[in-house]
């Protein structure tokens, strides 16, 4: 009986946990992402907020993640990632590729 209750409780809290998508953020300043290495849980949908503190607009672009999102200057953009298989997924700021780049690591 205890075991069943424990199992129920565990699965209920797991369900509650799964319903809440992890939220992560990165900041773009002087055409650089910080952090530029973003670790996310594999197999889960993740919400990533990109805050652009530059005056210039930037396009968050990732062929690996299949995302193209323009983030205007001094504003925030939200993208949804995954669920991803474990691995590394590169992204760039397409308008300033030389400095604006990073990687999403799914574990």
């Amino acid at each position: 009986m205890y075991r069943l209750a424990a199992a129920l409780l565990a699965s209920a809290s797991l369900a509650a946990f799964a319903a809440q998508e992890p939220e992560l953020a990165t900041v773009l300043e002087n055409h650089k992402f910080a952090p530029d290495r973003i670790e996310v849980p594999a197999g889960r949908k993740v919400k990533l907020t990109i805050e652009n503190r530059d005056a210039a607009p930037e396009e968050f672009d990732s062929g690996d993640l299949r995302i193209e999102k323009v983030v205007p200057g001094n504003s925030k953009g939200v993208v949804w990632l995954g669920p991803l298989k474990p691995g590394e997924y590169k992204f760039i700021g397409e308008y300033n590729e030389k400095t604006a780049h990073g990687v999403v690591v799914a574990k």
């Binding site: 062929g63 323009v70 205007p72 504003s75 939200v78 308008y95 300033n96």
Partner: protein, 281 residues
């Protein structure tokens, strides 16, 4: 300067390929040059407006305005291309037969062209607004003075247009007998590819589940970040790691348009002996 040129080239390329295909597909319809030019003009005006309203647009729909906007205009383009192909399945032979005469069905020709004007305008608007935002960003961050920036932009634009022009000229070399079948196929793939991209934006906005994602991974052959990948993405919606939902959209549009073409051809047949008389095949 060359960085600017390359980025502008990449953005212009997709639109130029689409305009090249549409220009070829409307061969023989009177007045098409004017319609296509108007489509490009409308697209440029539209891209300036979209770029100017980028902040407002991205704040709509809980920050998903941009995705929903992209998905909607892609959806419109898919509908227009589908209509074109269904129309062409009835009128293509006629156009092939009368290629050098003024088309008999000018009125439906004008309707057909207004549909493709929308497709051209949407293609130019999508890529154009990104180009405008990029150039605006370069201008205000002051890394490059404005003269090399403008020069780079012009070189990139010219390069993209040249590729579209080469595709158009290349398509025109296809013998007339197969010409409309070939352009129909390209338009069909274009429509299906756009549907798959619309699905990608809806997934990105969290409005659709991705289903199995990715279904496969061919990024080791052609990556979506490469120029070839970009060109293929523009023309057939190539995605190195497509999701199940994208492929569902791709094949649903493919099958629906083919069915529409077959239906239109069957419906036109009872009347066709008289109409198709000048065309013995």
């Amino acid at each position: 300067m060359f960085g600017t040129a390359l980025i502008v080239f990449r953005e212009v390329l997709e639109a130029a390929l689409i305009v090249g295909i549409v220009s070829a597909a409307t061969r023989g319809i009177p007045g098409r040059a004017r319609w296509i030019a108007s489509g490009i003009g409308a697209g440029i005006v539209g891209s300036l407006l979209v770029a100017a309203g980028a902040s407002a647009l991205s704040n709509l729909a809980q920050g998903m305005g941009q995705e929903l906007f992209n998905a909607s205009i892609l959806g419109i383009a898919v509908a227009m291309l589908a209509w074109h192909n269904i129309w062409m399945s009835v009128h293509g032979r006629e156009l092939a037969a009368n290629a050098n005469r003024v088309g008999a069905d000018i009125r439906s020709g004008a309707r057909e062209l207004s549909v493709l004007l929308v497709v051209v305008a949407i293609a130019v608007l999508r890529e154009g607004s990104e180009t405008v935002l990029f150039l605006y960003g370069v201008a205000i961050s002051g890394h490059e003075s404005s003269v090399p920036m403008m020069a780079g932009g012009a070189i990139g634009l010219a390069g993209g247009v040249a590729v579209g022009w080469l595709l158009f000229k290349g398509l025109l070399r296809i013998p007339l007998r197969w010409f409309f079948s070939a352009t129909s196929l390209l338009v069909l793939l274009l429509a299906a590819g756009m549907a798959s991209q619309a699905a990608r934006f809806l997934i990105q906005a969290d409005k659709l589940p991705s289903l199995a994602s990715p279904l496969w991974d061919t990024s080791w052959i052609v990556s979506n970040s490469s120029l070839l990948g970009k060109a293929l993405q523009g023309m057939i919606g190539y995605d190195a790691q497509p999701s199940g939902m994208q492929m569902t959209f791709f094949f649903a549009v493919l099958v629906a348009v083919l069915a529409g073409m077959a239906w239109a051809r069957r419906r036109a047949e009872p009347r066709s002996p008289a109409r198709a008389a000048p065309n013995p095949t």
